[in-house]
């Protein structure tokens, strides 16, 4: 259980797509997690891509946005590990 494989500073790679990417103005970033045991939902609050409503300090992950961790769908409460690739996916329109 060593730390040799862990990237420094509790970092994850964040990826945004489509409308979400354009609203944020970026598509891919290395982000250092604020806390040691953060979930994808915690990461979303940390990113603060949207302005918080009055009386609130952070915006929760909207139910329309899906999470993928290391390129597989995951629930928003999945704990993140250093080095994970975390993607926030706006509503899908394929086919």
């Amino acid at each position: 259980m060593g730390h040799q494989a862990a990237p420094p500073d509790n970092q994850v790679r964040v990826r945004l797509f489509a409308a979400l990417r354009e609203q944020a103005g970026w598509g891919e970033r290395e982000i250092r997690l604020d806390t040691g045991s953060a979930s994808a939902a915690d990461l979303w609050r940390q990113l603060a891509l949207e302005a918080a409503p009055p009386g609130s300090t952070a915006v929760d992950l909207p139910p329309t946005i899906r999470v993928a961790i290391n390129q597989a769908f995951a629930t928003a409460d999945t704990p993140l590990r250093p080095g994970d690739e975390v993607a926030f996916l706006p509503p899908i329109t394929g086919g």
């Binding site: 990826r15 797509f17 489509a18 409308a19 993928a68 390129q71 597989a72 769908f73 993607a87 996916l89 706006p90 509503p91 899908i92 329109t93 394929g94 086919g95």
Partner: protein
């Protein structure tokens, strides 16, 4: 997700350039050899010439999540084939900028009977519209609009 067996191959192709669905289909059939199955079902989807709001469409742009999109299409196709007891599956999907009238998606399924072949094609189309990381943007009058949802079945 079930693991596709060599007997039930899953072929997934993401294409950045225009493709001719019938040529792709013929090549896929040749690759499966002479011993075809009794039933085979196909769907070809093309880009319609108007936007969701009825304006003339210049192009449809398709963004995807490289890596995850291939893996997800493969997993959806394998699961669908297993559910219906179907055999070989082909999924070809365009990405990037696509002109009106061009093919955007081709799905083909082989099975022993028409029911599984037809049902697997329809179900897989719905699956990939909702569970594969693709996003459409309509270009019209020089500006692009992200499509908010899928068209009705």
């Amino acid at each position: 997700m079930p693991t596709p067996s060599p007997k039930h191959p899953i072929v997934v192709q993401l294409l950045e350039a225009p493709f001719e669905p019938l040529e792709l289909l013929a090549a896929w059939q040749r690759s499966l050899g002479a011993a075809g199955t009794a039933a085979e079902s196909h769907f070809i989807g093309r880009v319609r010439p108007t936007t969701a709001s009825g304006e003339p469409l210049e192009a449809l742009e398709l963004e995807h999540y490289p890596g995850m999109s291939e893996a997800q299409l493969r997993a959806l196709a394998g699961a669908c084939a297993a559910r219906h007891g179907a055999g070989a599956v082909l999924v070809a999907h365009r990405v990037g900028r696509i002109a009106p009238g061009e093919a955007i998606v081709l799905v083909a399924v082989q099975a022993d009977r028409r029911g599984p072949a037809l049902r697997c094609v329809q179900e897989l189309l719905e699956d990939l519209k909702h569970h594969a990381p693709f996003w459409k943007r309509e270009w019209s009058g020089g500006s692009g609009t992200w499509v908010a949802g899928n068209t009705p079945l």
